[in-house]
């Protein structure tokens, strides 16, 4: 039992000093974005007192910028806003579809990609998609901003590289060039409102003849963190991403996966299906790139 407090700083500077002040006072502070994980947790597994620091009022975290070389998505932006942005959908369709899978329309009115990443669940849907498209975390830190690639951000189940005095301002994504696209697929036993049994994100670039020149594959919910699958990417590069290449990529994902057996699926099941998803996501990304 104890008290909850709420702060809504307007800037990165203010947010950092709030976090520092709470730390100095020995209080627990927790960043709050959409609250769609936080509110559920505070009513079930994590009821303790704390100060919530709302990122949704921090000006820098509410920026959405689509530049020639880079896309910046502020940590306060609700996924509903992203899902309705046609330009984003056309250049990063895989990332946006991963955000669009989260919850329902109501949930997406609050939920953020940053919150999904910072919640650091092994099953977070945007995480493999972020990794595949090379997203980098922009982190506000007392000593100045620092940047961490998304694949190095999550360190374990529910843990990440953030210090208690730091927070995520947003995500920087290199703007895909030429015939580049991405795709994300997850498997759930239902059609929505469920948690990924496994997931796979694929981003790739094709040359004019349709040969893959670059690829990145990441898989989710098959280990304590999302995994990059270099062998799957290697299986695609230099090919036309044909069935043979895709099934080699699928095998690479299955081989790297280190899943557990639980109420949501067995080791064998997850291993096999993460390969199937890799193959299918690869084909979707290929077709999207070919259509450009």
């Amino acid at each position: 039992m104890g008290a909850y407090a709420y702060q809504a700083p307007a800037s990165v500077e203010e947010a950092l000093s709030t976090l520092a002040a709470e730390a100095a006072a020995g209080n627990r502070a927790q960043m709050l974005a959409g609250g769609t994980d936080v509110m559920v947790q505070m009513r079930s597994i994590d009821k303790g007192p704390r100060t919530f620091v709302d990122v949704k009022h921090v000006a820098e975290a509410n920026e959405l910028h689509i530049g020639d070389d880079e896309v910046f998505i502020g940590a306060g932006i609700a996924s509903a806003v992203l899902n309705e942005n046609d330009e984003l959908k056309s250049i990063l369709p895989g990332l946006i579809e991963s955000a669009d899978l989260i919850g329902s329309t109501q949930i997406q009115g609050r939920a953020t990609i940053g919150g999904n990443l910072c919640n650091s669940s092994p099953a977070g849907d945007t995480i493999p998609a972020l990794i595949a498209c090379g997203a980098v975390c922009v982190i506000a830190s007392p000593g100045g901003n620092r940047e961490v690639p998304t694949e190095d951000f999550v360190t374990g189940v529910g843990t990440n590289v953030l210090e208690p005095t730091e927070f995520l301002i947003g995500l920087k994504i290199p703007r895909p060039k030429g015939r580049s696209s991405d795709a994300y697929l997850r498997f759930i036993p239902r059609t929505e409102m469920d948690i990924a049994v496994c997931g796979a994100g694929v981003a790739l670039t094709l040359d004019d003849s349709g040969v893959c020149t670059a690829a990145k594959v990441a898989i989710g919910a098959v280990a304590i963190t999302a995994l990059v699958v270099p062998d799957a990417a290697a299986a695609l590069v230099g090919t036309t991403v044909d069935d043979e290449a895709l099934s080699a990529a699928a095998d690479a994902s299955s081989a790297l996966a280190k899943p557990i057996t639980d109420k949501r699926g067995t080791v064998e099941y997850r291993r096999k299906v993460v390969g199937v998803l890799t193959k299918r996501a690869g084909a979707i990304a290929r077709d999207r790139a070919l259509a450009l």
Binding site: M1, K263, R264, E268, Y269, K272
Partner: protein, 744 residues
């Protein structure tokens, strides 16, 4: 009879009286009551699936801040010898499932109550949990209840098999010997929860005069009254129960859990006590339906004629006896003419929550087995699965396996309608499979009362005591409007509390529209008789000379009287001069609940790389006798179909090795979401029930029966082999495909 009636209100689809309040959030459900000085009660639940309680010490909890009462089993009568119901409400000598209530506290705030739970000291001697039918029925099994003997026969050793049931007809062996083809299958269906959206909730307040009032969400407040009185050792008359609106029940709200705890703690403190369950509590501690293990065997001649069938059923009862083996046995072969049969059922104790009714309790599981076997038989005979069923279908005059001779029933009509349904004559979509199955529920009558009161402007108030879980107030109003000959809008139906209306049995067994509806019709007929008498008095005629036509008293044809017809409003307005207010009533023990049969078929497609089953279309054809409000009949058919599909595909209780349920929440107990489902197409068949004034049969339960087998049979159709057990969850389906060396 009913067919000849020229119906005006019945069969129309007006807005339900409770609709606006529900969609605007005004309706008050179980947890919506707040009283001054109200305390919050919470339950301490067993962390073990099976353990002996050595000691419960409430001292520290009682002393905690804000706490005004704490109770354990010792605060209720009966001790270790208390009945099963009482022991399920609060454990005595043993805890029998993870989540079993052990103690409860009431405090000024919810947080204080929660904190006090941690201060209750309980010493347990942990025992091995009995978690499966195989374990429970094995020789030398650990006993859930050391003094449980099968069928009470103490000459035999104690057993987890609490009871058995057997139906037999003809000569089984001779029947199978006569068959050209015999099919035998074996199936397991998991324990499943009703999944009602509203968790159990109640508030109780006890007065200094020894009387208590309970507000709760329930399918039967009269049962809550008697069961609560029983657990507390109180007189029934000391307890009044007021039902709230109810957010689903499906059979699961036909018993009590929190009510006696709340009343006792209110008696101890003199303050109202409110108790609500979390979703987790609902899963762990309220009654789901039985997980089952069934064997089905059926033999037929080359032309499809059934010669013999047998079924062996074992049902999990949970911690106390009472699995629905009776209905499971009654249903399994009810749709067919079978000259030789043996049906055996076993009610088996396991360390899981005590099962409760769930829509057609017991029938979906046993019929899943038999309808799967019949599907295999149709394949071997190369016969259309509907034709095979038609060939053997029960009809008026068939003697049901459980004894009675069916009066008019609508099975054949359902099968015939399914056969020509556009969804059935359409080809099976590319790559998909189609499955057919039949469903049945016998339906029940039981006791009901109703009162009909007429206001001075002719407004009709129907007062009855059957909680409305599926639109029954609209149906009562329609039957009253039809009988009285007044517009639907002139009638309002209410569900009264235990002190403002006559006794009604629980809303269950698909009895409400049938039995309470019959009471409403009779109460309206009472009003009509009184109106005729009042009109006769006004007109100075004999009662026999007055008719009631289209809501008006008129002189009978041939009676020479120059008078204007008297409407209900006219008579009500003048009631003071003719004998006082108009009040009609009826009470009855309804006989002749007509059985409702169905035929369901579905097209499904399996993703053979992930094992996921998608339902492409689902068609439910069912006999309603007479659809009073067709939309709510269709709603029952659709809702039951969705629950059955959910059970077939993903719903199951998953336990760890210690007997702890691992998926006690809607994230991992996967009921279907709206986007999982196609439109459930419905076709209502009307073969009137001769025992109801308008021909009503109950329709609420039959809809969940056939979907389990229909889905299984469809998946079988596509894959070319059968997966006998449910759920057909992706991991199970993919594993089966891999074992067979990849789909077809």
């Amino acid at each position: 009879m009913a067919e000849a009636l020229d119906l005006k209100a019945i069969g129309t689809r007006p807005v339900r009286p409770d609709g606006i309040d529900k969609v605007t959030g005004r309706a008050a459900f179980g947890a919506d009551l707040h009283l001054p000085n109200m305390l919050h009660g919470m339950v301490l639940r067993s962390p073990h699936a099976h353990a002996r309680i050595k000691r419960v010490d409430l001292t520290r909890a009682r002393a905690a801040e804000g706490v005004l009462a704490a109770v354990s089993g010792a605060d209720f009568p009966g001790g270790a010898g208390a009945g099963d119901l009482a022991k399920n409400v609060i454990a005595r000598d043993k805890v029998l499932y993870h989540g079993h209530a052990v103690a409860a506290v009431a405090a000024k705030t919810l947080l204080q109550a929660e904190a006090a739970l941690d201060l209750i000291e309980v010493d347990y001697e942990v025992l091995d949990p009995v978690m499966s039918l195989d374990e429970a029925m094995a020789d030398g099994a650990t006993l859930v209840n050391e003094s449980q003997h099968t069928n009470g026969d103490t000459s035999k050793p104690a057993s987890n098999i609490a009871a058995t049931q057997r139906f037999e007809r003809g000569d089984l062996e001779a029947g199978f010997a006569e068959a050209d083809i015999v099919v035998e299958t074996e199936h397991r269906v998991p324990m499943a929860h009703q999944g009602y959206i509203e968790p159990h909730a109640c508030t109780a307040t006890a007065n200094e005069d020894g009387k208590a009032t309970v507000w709760c969400c329930t399918q039967g407040h009269f049962d809550v009254r008697s069961l609560t009185a029983q657990v507390l050792g109180e007189k029934v008359g000391n307890i009044k129960v007021i039902p709230s609106e109810i957010g689903g029940g499906f059979g699961g709200k036909t018993t009590i859990y929190l009510e006696p705890l709340a009343v006792r703690m209110s008696q101890m403190t003199g303050r109202p006590v409110k108790m609500t369950m979390s979703r987790e509590d609902v899963f762990r501690a309220t009654g789901p339906t039985s997980g089952t293990w069934c064997r089905a065997k059926i033999g037929a001649k080359k032309d499809g004629t059934f010669t013999a069938a047998s079924a062996w059923l074992a049902y999990e009862a949970g911690a106390f006896p009472g699995a629905p083996i009776g209905p499971g046995c009654m249903s399994v072969l009810a749709p067919y003419e079978v000259p030789n049969l043996v049906i055996e059922g076993n009610d088996v104790l396991v360390n899981k929550p005590k099962v409760c009714a769930y829509r057609a309790p017991g029938a979906p599981q046993s019929m899943h087995a038999m309808e799967s076997a019949i599907d295999e038989l149709a394949r071997q005979l190369d016969m259309d699965p509907i034709d095979l069923r038609l060939k053997n279908s029960a009809a008026e005059g068939t003697v049901a396996p459980y004894g009675p001779r069916f009066p008019a029933i609508g099975l054949r009509e359902c099968l015939e309608a399914a056969k020509v349904h556009p969804n059935y004559t359409a080809p099976v979509p590319e790559g998909a499979g189609r499955g057919v199955a039949v469903g049945f529920w016998f339906n029940i009558g039981m006791q009901s009362s109703a009162e009909v009161r007429i206001a001075e402007d002719g407004a009709v108030t129907v007062m009855e005591g059957s909680p409305d879980i599926g639109g029954s107030r609209a149906s009562m109003a329609l039957m009253a409007a039809e009988t009285l000959g007044v517009p639907y809008e002139q009638v309002k139906a209410h569900v009264g509390d235990t002190e403002s209306t006559g006794f009604c049995n629980v809303t269950g067994g698909s009895r409400t529209t049938f039995a309470t509806g019959m009471a409403v019709v009779q109460a309206c007929e009472d009003i009509i008789a009184q109106c005729k008498q009042r009109a006769a008095l006004t007109w100075d005629l004999d009662e026999e000379q007055v008719d009631w036509v289209d809501g008006e008293a008129v002189p009978k044809p041939g009676v020479n009287a120059d008078v204007k017809p008297l409407s209900l409003a006219d008579i009500a307005r003048g009631a003071g001069r003719t004998g006082g207010p108009l009040l009609g009533r009826a009470s009855l023990n309804a006989q002749g609940a007509g059985a409702s049969f169905s035929c369901n078929f579905t097209d499904t497609i399996v993703d053979t790389e992930t094992g996921k089953v998608d339902v492409l279309s689902f068609t439910a054809v069912q006999d309603a006798g007479r659809a009073i409000h067709p939309s709510y009949v269709e709603g029952q058919m659709q809702g039951g179909a969705v629950q059955g599909i959910g059970w077939a595909l993903n719903e199951e209780y998953i336990y760890d090795d210690n007997g702890v349920m691992e998926n006690a929440g809607f994230l991992d107990y996967r009921v279907p979401v709206a986007s999982d489902m196609p439109m459930i197409d419905t076709e209502i068949i009307e073969v009137p029930n001769p025992f109801h004034p308008y021909g009503v049969r109950g329709v609420g339960e039959t809809p969940i029966v056939a979907p389990l087998a229909a889905v299984s049979n469809a998946v079988r159709d596509q894959l070319g082999f059968r997966i006998p057990d449910l759920p057909l969850s992706p991991p199970r389906v993919l594993e089966a495909i891999d074992e067979q060396g990849g789909g077809d």
